[in-house]
C-alpha cells in the first residue's frame, strides 16, 4: 500500500467515523439503512470516494454506530435488534438521573470490545477456522439450539395470581403465549420476505430493512410515545461506578456473547449477550450494561472483521452482505489495515460519546422527548418510503404490529429474530421447499 492510499484510508476513516457518529444519533436509523443510502450515492457519484477507501469508510461508520447509537437507544428508546436488552437497564439509569454514566459504561464496553478484537487476532487466524468448519457442517441444529434456548428460557412473569389452578396458569402463561405468538408471526413473516422480493427489484439489497425497522425501531418508538415518562434531571458524572473487576467481568461476558453472535447466523448481539450473561452468572446491572456494549460492538464490527481474516473469510453480518458484491479482501495487509481502522475509529467515536451524550441529555431535558420521537418516526418513514416505496411501508407496518406484541404483552423482544432464524434452520435442514409448498409460497 502506498502512502497516498494510506492517507486516503485515514481520511475516509475519520470521515466515516464523524458521519457514522452523527447519523447514529438519529433514533431508529440503522447503520445498514445508512450504508445502503451511502452505497447508492457512491454508485451515482463514484468520484466521491476512491475504491481503496471503501472498506475503511464503511467499517468506520459501523464502529461509530456500534458505539454511539446506544445513546438514542437508551435515552429515547428506539433500539436496534442488538440493543433491545440494554434499553431497560439504560432507562433505569436514566430515571435515577444517571443516564450519562450508563451511556459511558456502554462506551467503555465498546472500547473493551475493540481491545479484545486486537488481542484475539491469533485466535481468529488459527483457531476460528476450525470452529467455522465444524459450525458450517452443523449449522442447522446449532441454530435450532438458539431457538430452543430462547423459547425455553423465557419463564412466566410471576408465579401467577388467581384462586384456581387454571386462573393462575393462564395468568402466568399470558406473557409466554405472547412470546410464542411473536415468534410464530415473525417466523411466518420471514418465510414470506426471504422468498419473495416484496420491494422494488433494484432495491433488493435492502429487502429486509423495512422489516427490521418495523420490528425493532418503530415498535420501540410507538411504545415510548404512548408512555408518559418524565425525564428527571441528569447528573454528568466525572467518574463511573465500576471497578476493574466489574469491568473485566463485563468485557469477558460481552466478548463471549458478541463472539457467539458474530459467528452464528441470525443470532444478534443481544441474544448472545443474554446467553453469555447466563453462562458467566452476571447479575449486576453495571456488568450487564458493559457487556451489552461489548457484545453489540463485537456483533457488528467483529462480524465484519471476520470477513477480512484471510484464513477464515467468514461472511457474516449485514455489512458483509451489503459490501460483498464490491470487494473481497485476500491478504494479511488488508486485515491489519481494517484493524487499525477499527482502533482509530473506536477511539474517536468513544471521545465523541461524551459531548454527544451531554447534548442528548440537554435535548431530552429541554425538549419533550415525544417530539423527538415523532421527528425520528418521520425520518424513518421518509427513508423506508424513499428506498423501498409503498411495499416497504406496508412491510414496515406489518412488522411494527408484530414488534408491538412483546412490548404490550410483556414478552421478550428477541422473539422477533425468528424472522431470520426459523427460515434459516429449516432451509439449512433441507425442509425449505416443503415449508414453502405448504404455505403456497413456492
Amino acid at each position: 500500500m502506498d502512502s497516498m492510499a494510506a492517507l486516503q484510508i485515514l481520511i475516509y476513516t475519520i470521515l466515516g467515523t464523524i458521519i457514522g457518529g452523527i447519523l447514529s444519533m438519529v433514533p431508529a436509523l440503522h447503520i445498514f439503512n445508512v450504508s445502503g443510502i451511502a452505497l447508492l450515492i457512491w454508485f451515482r457519484w463514484p468520484f466521491l470516494m476512491p475504491e481503496v477507501a471503501l472498506p475503511a469508510f464503511f467499517m468506520a461508520m459501523l464502529v461509530a454506530w456500534a458505539n454511539i447509537n446506544t445513546i438514542p437507544s437508551m435515552f429515547i428508546g428506539a433500539p436496534d435488534e442488538a440493543a433491545v436488552f440494554v434499553v431497560l437497564p439504560g432507562q433505569k439509569y436514566m430515571l435515577q438521573g444517571r443516564g450519562y454514566e450508563a451511556s459511558i459504561l456502554t462506551g467503555v464496553g465498546s472500547l473493551g470490545a475493540i481491545v479484545m478484537m486486537v488481542l484475539l487476532t491469533p485466535f481468529l487466524y488459527y483457531t476460528l477456522p476450525f470452529i467455522k468448519n465444524i459450525r458450517s457442517q452443523n449449522l442447522a441444529w446449532i441454530m435450532l439450539l438458539f431457538i430452543i434456548y430462547m423459547l425455553m428460557s423465557e419463564w412466566p412473569k410471576g408465579s401467577g395470581m388467581g384462586k384456581t389452578v387454571w386462573e393462575r396458569f393462564t395468568w402466568a402463561w399470558a406473557n409466554l403465549i405472547s412470546g410464542l405468538t411473536t415468534f410464530a408471526l415473525s417466523a411466518f413473516l420471514g418465510f414470506i420476505i426471504l422468498n419473495r422480493t416484496m420491494v422494488p427489484l433494484d432495491m433488493s439489497f435492502q429487502g429486509i430493512m423495512p422489516v427490521f425497522v418495523g420490528l425493532f425501531a418503530v415498535a420501540g418508538i410507538i411504545q415510548n410515545l404512548v408512555s408518559h415518562q418524565a425525564v428527571p434531571p441528569q447528573h454528568e458524572s466525572k467518574s463511573i461506578d465500576v471497578d476493574y473487576r466489574l469491568l473485566g467481568k463485563g468485557i469477558f461476558a460481552g466478548t463471549i456473547g458478541g463472539g457467539l453472535a458474530s459467528i452464528i447466523p441470525a443470532v444478534t448481539g443481544g441474544i448472545g449477550g443474554i446467553i453469555a450473561g447466563a453462562a458467566t452468572g452476571q447479575r449486576d446491572d453495571r456488568i450487564f450494561v458493559i457487556s451489552q456494549g461489548v457484545s453489540k460492538t463485537i456483533y457488528y464490527v467483529g462480524a465484519f472483521l471476520l470477513f477480512f481474516v484471510p484464513t477464515l473469510m467468514l461472511s457474516r453480518g449485514g455489512m458483509t452482505i451489503i459490501l460483498k458484491p464490491l470487494f473481497t479482501p485476500y491478504t494479511n495487509q488488508e486485515y491489519f489495515m481494517i484493524l487499525s481502522v477499527i482502533m482509530i475509529s473506536g477511539a474517536l467515536s468513544f471521545l465523541m460519546m461524551f459531548p454527544l451524550t451531554r447534548w442528548t441529555i440537554r435535548l431530552i431535558t429541554h425538549v419533550d422527548y415525544h417530539i423527538i420521537l415523532w421527528i425520528a418516526l418521520a425520518i424513518v418513514f421518509v427513508i423506508v418510503y424513499g428506498l423501498t416505496g409503498w411495499m416497504g411501508m406496508f412491510l414496515m407496518g406489518v412488522s411494527t404490529g408484530i414488534g408491538l406484541i412483546p412490548a404490550f404483552y410483556h414478552s421478550r423482544k428477541s422473539n422477533c429474530m425468528a424472522v431470520l432464524l426459523v427460515w434459516m434452520v429449516l432451509s439449512q435442514g433441507g425442509h425449505g421447499p416443503a415449508i414453502l409448498k405448504f404455505f403456497r409460497l413456492d
Partner: protein
C-alpha cells in the same frame, strides 16, 4: 445448576454417540437430533416452572399490601400455616407473593426460619428494581421486623433465609415428621419432574415418534439422546443442596443433594459450560466424516480444556470477589436489620435493667 448449563451439558453428552453426530452433520442427514439433548437438558426445570408450580395450590397466601406493610402480620400468617401442619399432621403449603410497587420497583422482604429460637422472622428490606439493585435509604424506618414463635419444633433444611423481591415468590411446604415440622423450600420443584423414570417415559415417546418418522433403525437414537439430556440435568442437580425425586413415582420423597456448590455458583456453572462446549467441538470434529483437526484426546484435554480452566480458576482466585458472594444483598441487609433490632432490644433491656436498679435505689 443453571438452565444454560443443563442445556449445554445435554447437547455435549449426546455428542458422544458417533451415529448421532454423523446424522447431524450436513454431509450426513442434516438431522436435528443433537438439539434434542439441549431440549431435554432444560426440560425438567421447564416442567416445574412452566407447568408444575401452578398445579401446586397453596393452603395459605402471604400477599402483603405495599401501602400497609406489616411484617408481624406476615410472620404470623406463616406461623399459622406451620402450626396448622403441627396440629393436624397434614401437609400444608404456603405461597409468598412479591410486593410490586411499580413497573420496575418491588419491595424486598426476607423470610427466615430460625430453628434455634423456633420462630419465623420476616424482615422488610429496601425497594429494589427488576435487576434486584436496591435503593439506598428506602427500607422502612420503623416496623421493619416481625417475629412469630411456632408451636411445634421446626426443622429447616434449606439452610438460608429466603429473599423475596421480583417477579415471583417462593412456596414452602410444612410437614410433621416425628417430633418436628420440616420446612420444604419450593415443594413443587425437583420432585416428579426430576425423575429418571419420567425421563425414560418421555424419551420413549420421542423414540416412538422419531421411529415413525425416521424409521425404527434410527428412532432409538433420538430417544437415547433425549434420555441422556434429561438424565444429565437430574445428575447435575444432585451437586447442589436440593436433590430430586429420582425414581418418582416409585419414590416420591425428594432426596437431598451432595451440597458441592450452589446451583447459581457462577464459576462452577461457567466451568461446566466451557467443558460442555469444548467437549462438543471435540466430538463433532472426531466423528465428522473428515475431521478438521487431528489433536489427540489427551492433548485436547490438556491444551483446550485443562489449561484454560486452570487459568480461569487462577484469575478467579487472585482477581475474583474477595467477599462472601454467596450471600445475596437482601440477606446482608436483613442481617443488618436484625442486628440493629437486636442492638436496640439489648439497649432497651439494659435501660430496663438500669431503670429497675434506679427504681430499687429510689425505693
Amino acid at each position: 445448576m443453571k438452565g444454560l448449563t443443563h442445556f449445554l451439558s445435554g447437547v455435549a453428552l449426546g455428542s458422544f454417540i458417533p451415529a448421532a453426530v454423523r446424522m447431524a452433520n450436513s454431509t450426513g442427514e442434516n438431522s436435528y437430533i443433537l438439539a434434542l439433548g439441549g431440549l431435554f437438558g432444560i426440560m425438567p426445570d421447564t416442567l416445574d416452572f412452566k407447568v408444575g408450580q401452578f398445579f401446586s395450590g397453596a393452603d395459605y397466601d402471604v400477599d402483603a399490601d405495599p401501602n400497609r406493610l406489616d411484617p408481624q402480620k406476615m410472620a404470623e400468617q406463616i406461623g399459622r400455616a406451620m402450626d396448622d401442619a403441627w396440629e393436624t399432621g397434614r401437609y400444608v403449603k404456603i405461597q409468598l407473593y412479591p410486593i410490586r410497587i411499580s413497573v420496575d420497583l418491588w419491595r424486598q422482604y426476607v423470610v427466615k426460619f430460625d430453628g434455634e429460637k423456633n420462630e419465623i422472622v420476616v424482615i422488610i428490606n429496601e425497594i429494589v428494581n427488576t435487576s434486584q439493585a436496591s435503593y439506598v435509604g428506602s427500607a422502612p424506618k420503623t416496623n421493619r421486623v416481625g417475629r412469630c414463635r411456632v408451636k411445634g419444633k421446626m426443622l429447616e433444611t434449606h439452610g438460608k433465609p429466603s429473599v423475596v423481591d421480583i417477579m415471583s415468590g417462593p412456596q414452602f411446604g410444612f410437614i410433621k415428621k416425628g417430633g418436628v415440622v420440616e420446612v420444604e423450600f419450593l415443594p413443587w420443584h425437583r420432585t416428579w419432574s426430576h425423575s429418571f423414570v419420567l425421563g425414560f417415559i418421555l424419551s420413549a415417546a420421542v423414540w416412538l415418534i422419531a421411529s415413525l418418522i425416521a424409521g425404527w433403525d434410527k428412532g432409538w437414537l433420538y430417544g437415547l439422546v433425549s434420555f441422556l439430556g434429561y438424565s444429565i440435568h437430574i445428575t447435575e442437580d444432585l451437586t447442589g443442596h436440593m436433590g430430586g425425586s429420582l425414581l418418582w413415582p416409585f419414590q416420591k420423597d425428594r432426596t437431598n443433594g451432595l451440597c458441592l456448590f450452589k446451583a447459581s455458583a457462577a464459576h462452577a456453572n461457567f466451568s461446566v459450560d466451557y467443558l460442555a462446549v469444548t467437549v462438543l467441538l471435540f466430538n463433532l470434529n472426531r466423528f465428522a466424516p473428515k475431521p478438521f483437526f487431528t489433536l489427540g484426546t489427551w492433548e485436547y484435554l490438556l491444551y483446550v480444556i485443562a489449561i484454560p480452566l486452570i487459568i480461569y480458576g487462577l484469575i478467579g482466585k487472585f482477581f475474583g470477589e474477595k467477599k462472601d458472594v454467596d450471600k445475596k444483598e437482601g440477606e446482608i441487609s436483613a442481617e443488618k436489620a436484625l442486628a440493629s433490632q437486636q442492638q436496640s432490644s439489648n439497649e432497651e433491656m439494659l435501660y430496663d435493667a438500669e431503670d429497675a436498679v434506679v427504681g430499687d435505689v429510689q425505693r
